[in-house]
């Protein structure tokens, strides 16, 4: 299996690491090479795998370029298109006239905020949430990404860029749901190492939402993993956007569905597979640890270098 890699305007590559996750702000690429003509801000594509079987695993922009002596090597740090949203800080020239929107759907608010950072390759799910019904929504003194992420968090949605550079705003829960279809199957001969973890660290069985003008909502449910009558609480504070009781209650219900569960996860290291991306579902079987069925791919790390090409996954049930 002869290894293959190609990076824009870069040759004699020493190593590459790509990190992508359900919850991370951006996908990042860390490239070590001997020759490059890349400069900060340049567009970058990373294609790796094996000769005759490879594909694009990252597209983005150079954020940091380091040249080292005495090894005379380059260390190139890249992030995907959402780094533009992270870098774009919304600050009105007149503090009395901030950026405002009235009676706007959540997905369109995210679209417009990202467009301020020149990100227009965007697709947003129909959320059924409308903001600024009574009072306009003001967006000021925050980055485009932070505000889009804030909207996503209060609705239990996610915002991410795929490998082609398109930004998605979607309700993707970090576990397998009934409508998911597995895209690949892996079993014991594919794994170099594997583990399985169960934890209630992120479990919350009560969600309280604070909105504007005395708008507040709550959702809760008993958990079989906690003592009777015991509630671990999460708070969603969104007084600038929730001015409608129905929206606040919907947010509480969505976040309870997201949070009221044990986190069952598995960390897998396997022979490099460039075709796997986070936010997909795969079928995994490893009988000694009782791992079987469909698992949600929460994070993917591709490591490529003289030590070989490996892919590390964090999977969630």
């Amino acid at each position: 299996m002869k290894l293959y890699c190609s990076v824009t305007n870069t040759t004699n590559i020493i190593s590459i690491q790509i990190n992508s996750s359900h919850s991370a702000q951006t996908t990042t690429a860390q490239i070590e090479a001997i020759n490059t003509s890349l400069d900060v801000g340049d567009a970058v594509t990373v294609d790796l795998g094996y000769v005759g079987n490879h594909g694009v695993v990252f597209t983005g922009f150079v954020k940091n370029l380091e040249v080292k002596e005495p090894t005379k090597t380059y260390s190139i740090t890249c992030s995907d298109v959402l780094v533009r949203a992270m870098d774009f800080f919304i600050a009105s020239s007149n503090p009395d006239e901030p950026y405002t929107k009235k009676n706007i759907k959540a997905e369109n608010l995210v679209r417009d905020v990202l467009a301020l950072a020149s990100i227009t390759n965007y697709v947003g799910d129909n959320t059924l949430f409308t903001f600024g019904i009574h009072n306009p929504v003001e967006v000021n003194l925050t980055s485009s990404y932070d505000y889009a992420r804030f909207i996503a968090d209060i609705l239990a949605y996610i915002v991410y860029a795929d490998v082609s550079g398109q930004v998605h705003f979607t309700r993707r829960l970090p576990y397998v749901t009934g409508s998911d279809t597995s895209v690949a199957t892996y079993s014991t001969p594919d794994f170099i190492s594997i583990n399985r973890v169960l934890t209630d660290k992120d479990l919350r069985n009560r969600v309280v939402v604070y909105g504007a003008d005395n708008i507040h909502a709550e959702a809760s449910a008993a958990s079989p993993h906690l003592p009777d009558g015991f509630y671990k609480t999460a708070v969603v504070a969104a007084p600038t956007v929730f001015d409608n009781q129905t929206m606040a209650q919907q947010s509480a219900d969505y976040n309870l569905e997201l949070l009221n569960r044990l986190t069952e996860s598995s960390s897998v290291t396997m022979i490099g597979d460039h075709t796997i991306f986070p936010r997909t579902v795969v079928t995994v079987t490893h009988t000694p640890l009782g791992i079987s069925g469909d698992w949600y791919v929460y994070s993917v790390t591709h490591t490529f270098g003289s030590g070989g090409f490996t892919t590390s996954l964090e999977l969630r049930k």
């Binding site: 299996m1 002869k2 290894l3 001969p189 170099i192 594997i194 003289s306 070989g308």
Partner: protein, 121 residues
């Protein structure tokens, strides 16, 4: 023709020639070892021999500071250009040398070992 490195005369009594392919091996939990191919190292050579005279020794040691590749020639002809990675020298006890008749018979005699890395063109 005798052995020379950038024209410096060396009486070679040992010549090692090593090559290596970079082959990461990954061991799955079950099944055979998976072998991947990352590339290869350029030829590494090591010559050991005798140098006569301090002038030649200093000239040889100077080659480790230049970041340039130099031609290695053998009795069979040129072996290519190499970067001089390391030079190790021990002075041998000598009363009278006859290896280099163009030099003084009381010239110092050194045992040297030189590590060479092939130049990539």
């Amino acid at each position: 023709m005798s052995w020379t490195l950038n024209g410096i005369r060396i009486f070679v009594n040992k010549h090692e020639n090593n090559s290596r392919q970079i082959m990461p091996t990954l061991q799955p939990l079950s099944g055979g070892t998976v072998v991947q191919f990352f590339g290869y190292e350029t030829t590494i050579q090591q010559i050991a021999g005798i140098i006569v005279g301090r002038v030649d020794l200093l000239a040889l040691q100077e080659l480790t500071t230049t970041q340039l590749a130099y031609e290695l020639t053998s009795p069979e002809g040129s072996l290519g250009n190499f970067y001089i990675k390391a030079v190790r020298a021990d002075r041998l006890p000598s009363v009278y040398q006859t290896m280099r008749l163009d030099l003084d018979c009381e010239s110092p005699v050194y045992s040297v070992s030189v590590d060479l890395q092939a130049e990539v063109v």
